[in-house]
């Protein structure tokens, strides 16, 4: 276990290094000069040159990158060009909100997706099954922004059941999490349905029935855990996709998370923030995958960590 973790940590560091290098290189090539951007319209050429020098943008790429890596070693992600604040502080202040939303979103996605998938599998080929599959398609084809706005319009603006925007109370998290959940749920419903159909045909399900176990228990206690493994693996893959969703959902629901920060930074070519957010989300994805791998043996004891 310890050796396994050590290996994964090393792997994580390598991945992060790789990502840092690629991102740095790519951002360096983007045709937008942050110094010009900061200096604004009224700046003289002298001012622009000064700003460029102060930011170290006049240095060769390699020097800039090594300097950045040096900072990383001390947990320093640099300073935002536009906000003139430590990127670490900015990210740290927004991390709790994003984590909350992410966890709630994944929970919603699983709750909806797994439930629908199980229902569809149990009632295979029935009307209900078809309805679930069409619903899952509709959500997959729906733009997130629109879904978010619709939910907000109906449940917050019109019915007033939930607050419209902000972060803090459990009521605030419901709609954003639901938006994220609805869209992912379509995928999960499909995955769960097909594995569940497989599992329901397994010998051990027949064994359970032969023991006189009630149908609900057969499905939930005997079959479902066996169908969850692909779902867990999918979550690992999914976290990356989630980041894109966060940008939209956070914007609509005024959720003070990393997605908003990233979005603004991209608009402003605020390279230190973009770098920071990229690294943090890469870390989240890698950790998410690690977590999925660590959970897998609990779901299926046959799996051993290698």
């Amino acid at each position: 276990m310890a050796a396994y973790l050590a290996q994964r940590v090393l792997q994580t560091i390598l991945i992060l290094l790789g990502i840092a290098a690629i991102t740095f290189l790519l951002l360096y090539m983007v045709p937008a000069d942050p110094a010009v951007q900061i200096a604004g319209r009224s700046a003289t050429a002298q001012t622009v040159a000064n700003i460029r020098r102060e930011l170290g943008l006049d240095q060769p790429l390699l020097t800039q990158f090594l300097r950045y890596l040096g900072g990383l070693l001390h947990g320093d992600l640099g300073r935002s060009y536009a906000q003139k604040t430590d990127v670490m502080t900015l990210i740290a202040s927004r991390l709790p909100a994003t984590m909350t939303l992410m966890i709630a979103g994944i929970a919603a996605e699983l709750a909806i997706g797994v439930t629908l998938g199980v229902i569809a599998a149990v009632r295979r080929n029935s009307f209900l099954d078809r309805a679930v599959m069409i619903a899952s398609f509709t959500t997959i084809s729906a733009p997130q922004f629109l879904v978010a706005l619709l939910l907000l319009y109906v449940f917050a603006a019109t019915l007033g059941w939930f607050p419209m925007s902000g972060f803090g109370s459990p009521a605030h998290v419901v709609l954003p999490a639901l938006t994220l959940g609805i869209l992912g749920a379509g995928w999960y419903a499909r995955i769960v349905r097909s594995t569940m159909i497989d599992v329901l045909n397994q010998d051990y399900v027949r064994t359970a029935k032969a023991k006189g176990v009630a149908p609900a228990r057969v499905v939930l206690r005997h079959a479902l855990p066996n169908a969850l493994l692909p779902v867990i693996a999918m979550i690992g893959i999914d976290i990356g996709q989630f980041m894109a969703g966060l940008v939209v959902v956070e914007a609509v629901f005024g959720w003070p998370g990393i997605g908003q920060l990233a979005w603004q930074a991209i608009q402003q070519v605020d390279i230190p923030i973009i770098m920071g957010v990229t690294l943090v989300s890469a870390l989240a994805i890698v950790l998410g995958n690690l977590l999925a791998d660590l959970i897998a043996p609990f779901i299926d004891p046959r799996i051993r960590l290698r």
Partner: protein
């Protein structure tokens, strides 16, 4: 066996019909099946594969797949209760409570993600209304009753942590934990090793006596029938052809089907006093091994599997699957390779086919296969072909039989397209399949047919040596006999040499000129078939032979008491 003052039957099946829904209307699966089960009796349902044994048992449990099968007619009475019209909630109490069932596959019949304890205590909680703790206690007692070592620990283990034999014990324990009146065991031992099978059969007998349970035992193994049954129900294509006591079945079979079946069963010791397998073809003379050169020589073969270590953890020691094995095979001869599961038989075969990394020397047709370039290796592979254990698994399900048969030729660049097709048709005829079958896919054949396709595939390259790894294990008795005969015939006409891998002693006896007995990766006994079978020197060899069920009720029962295993405790 049946006491004179027998009360009414525990279970009575009367005029049971089952039909399958097909696009072209209902197709009968069971027709007018009737039998009774007396208290404490063991009734065997026997018959070829597909005869309706499993469907009968599922119908009793009312677990037939609703979408495809239904019962249009018939009654099933448990004591005085009619099961077919019982409400589902009532029926749930019957399942596991009054009637318990053990399924064929111990490997897949236990839920892989639940502990043994959770699975065993579940039935107890449902049917006896006791709490979690109490149920676990009783489950532990049951594990004791099925002779499991360290029952307390087993409760916390998962199925994959147990061997096949242990899992079947758990299944039996689970089935008997609520003291059911009827136990249905559907092929409870086919997947197991001979020695483990013997232990499980002993256990079942012991427990049903202790618990006073009546048993329906489903099997196609006539040896098991002889050992276990009080009465036998013979089935064929959904009908009962004969119901008699076990003695009558073996000594005075009525139905012609029963007679055929018994004739096809190989019996251990059948060929004592002879040197080789029986000759089947008369017309041609046996190809004499004129050249004294063996087709295959294996010297000091070692195979070990490396477990993958991690970057930081030390590498675990490699598992030695085959240790210092040496033997040779002459042209036209069969070398039988026996041994229990996991003894390294398949690994040896795979090493010769160069599918696993190995050390030592392997000479095919006098030529070492070590360090060959891919092209040379390809040429050598032509000479030695392998037939895998499971014919279904070893045929690409997405290729038609025609392409599958022609593929070896394509790989080796032999002939034109038309020629290849011709050869494929020829080979199909040779293995007694119709050339029309070329456009069909593997799933459209029966097990026996598939195995013939595999043989055909091996033959098409005209090899000198065929490695047959458990080639008939998956087949029905009668089909198995046909396939074995075919193999013998081909040997006679083509002068093939076989490395015949099997754990079934009777079959090896029938097929081989010489025999190797393997255990834990090593050869424990080697010699001509006659030496090994008539005069086994090693205790392990003797145990293996002893464990084989004898299809003769009188001998089977006399053997019962004397069976004991010297080399190992209960598995």
């Amino acid at each position: 066996m049946i006491p004179a003052d027998a009360p009414g039957p525990v279970l009575a099946v009367d005029d049971l019909w089952v039909e399958a829904r097909t696009p072209t209307g209902p197709r009968p699966i069971l027709e007018a099946v009737s039998f009774t089960l007396a208290p404490r009796e063991t009734l065997c349902l026997a018959g070829e594969s597909g005869s309706g044994k499993s469907v009968t048992s599922l119908a009793i449990m009312r677990l037939l797949p609703k979408a495809s099968l239904r019962v249009p007619r018939g009654t099933i009475k448990l004591a005085e209760r009619e099961l077919l019209s019982l409400p589902e909630t009532e029926m749930r109490k019957v399942r596991g409570g009054d009637i318990a069932m053990i399924f064929q596959e111990p490997m897949t019949s236990l839920n892989p993600v639940m502990t043994i304890g959770a699975q065993m205590s579940e039935a107890i909680r449902i049917h006896q209304g006791v709490g979690e703790h109490e149920a676990l206690g009783r489950a532990k007692d049951m594990l004791d009753a099925v002779h499991m070592t360290d029952p307390a620990r087993r409760l916390r283990q998962y199925p994959h942590e147990l061997s096949g034999g242990m899992r079947q014990r758990v299944m039996i324990g689970m089935a008997l934990s609520c003291r059911p009146k009827v136990l249905i065991a559907d092929e409870p031992t086919t997947a197991l090793d001979v020695r483990v099978q013997a232990q499980i059969l002993d256990l079942m007998r012991e427990l049903s006596a202790d618990f006073g349970t009546s048993t329906i035992l489903i099997t196609h193994d006539m040896g098991v029938v002889a050992e276990m049954a009080d009465r036998v129900v013979m089935m064929k294509t959904g009908r009962i052809v004969e119901t008699s006591s076990v003695e009558d079945i073996f000594l005075r079979p009525q139905a012609s089907y029963t007679r055929e079946l018994l004739a096809a069963v190989p019996r251990l010791g059948e060929r004592s006093g002879t040197d080789g397998p029986p000759r089947l073809s008369r017309e041609c003379e046996p190809v004499e091994a004129k050249t004294a050169l063996p087709v295959l020589v294996v010297r000091d073969l070692n195979v070990s599997f490396h477990q993958s270590g991690s970057l930081f953890a030390p590498k675990p020691a490699p598992v030695a699957a085959v240790k210092d094995v040496s033997f040779s095979i002459m042209p036209g001869q069969t070398l039988g390779l026996v041994g229990e599961s996991g003894s390294g038989k398949s690994t040896t075969g795979k090493a010769i086919a160069n599918l696993v990394p190995w050390t030592g020397d392997i000479l095919l047709g006098g030529r070492s296969i070590r360090n060959l370039s891919p092209r040379e290796l390809k040429a050598v592979r032509r000479k030695a072909q392998m037939i895998f254990q499971d014919p279904y698994a070893s045929l690409d399900p997405r290729m038609s039989i025609g392409s599958l048969l022609a593929e070896p030729l394509t790989i080796h660049g032999i002939g034109t397209r038309a020629e290849r097709e011709e050869r494929a048709a020829e080979v199909l005829k040779r293995v007694r399949l119709s050339p029309d079958h070329r456009t069909r896919y593997p799933h459209e054949f029966s097990g026996g047919q598939r195995q013939r396709i595999c043989i055909g595939r091996a033959l098409i390259l005209e090899p000198d040596l065929i490695i047959a790894d458990e080639s008939v294990a998956a087949l029905d008795v009668s089909v198995r006999a046909q396939v074995l005969d075919l193999m013998l015939e081909l040997q006679e006409t083509l002068g093939l040499a076989y490395l015949f891998i099997s754990h079934d002693m009777a079959i090896v006896e029938r097929m081989s000129h010489a025999v190797l007995v393997m255990r834990h990766g090593q050869i424990v006994e080697a010699g001509s078939r006659r030496e090994v079978f008539e005069n086994p020197r090693d205790t392990y060899t003797r145990e293996l032979m002893n464990a084989v069920p004898v299809p003769d009720p009188a001998r089977a029962r006399s053997k019962r008491g004397s069976r004991y295993l010297a080399s190992e405790k209960a598995v």
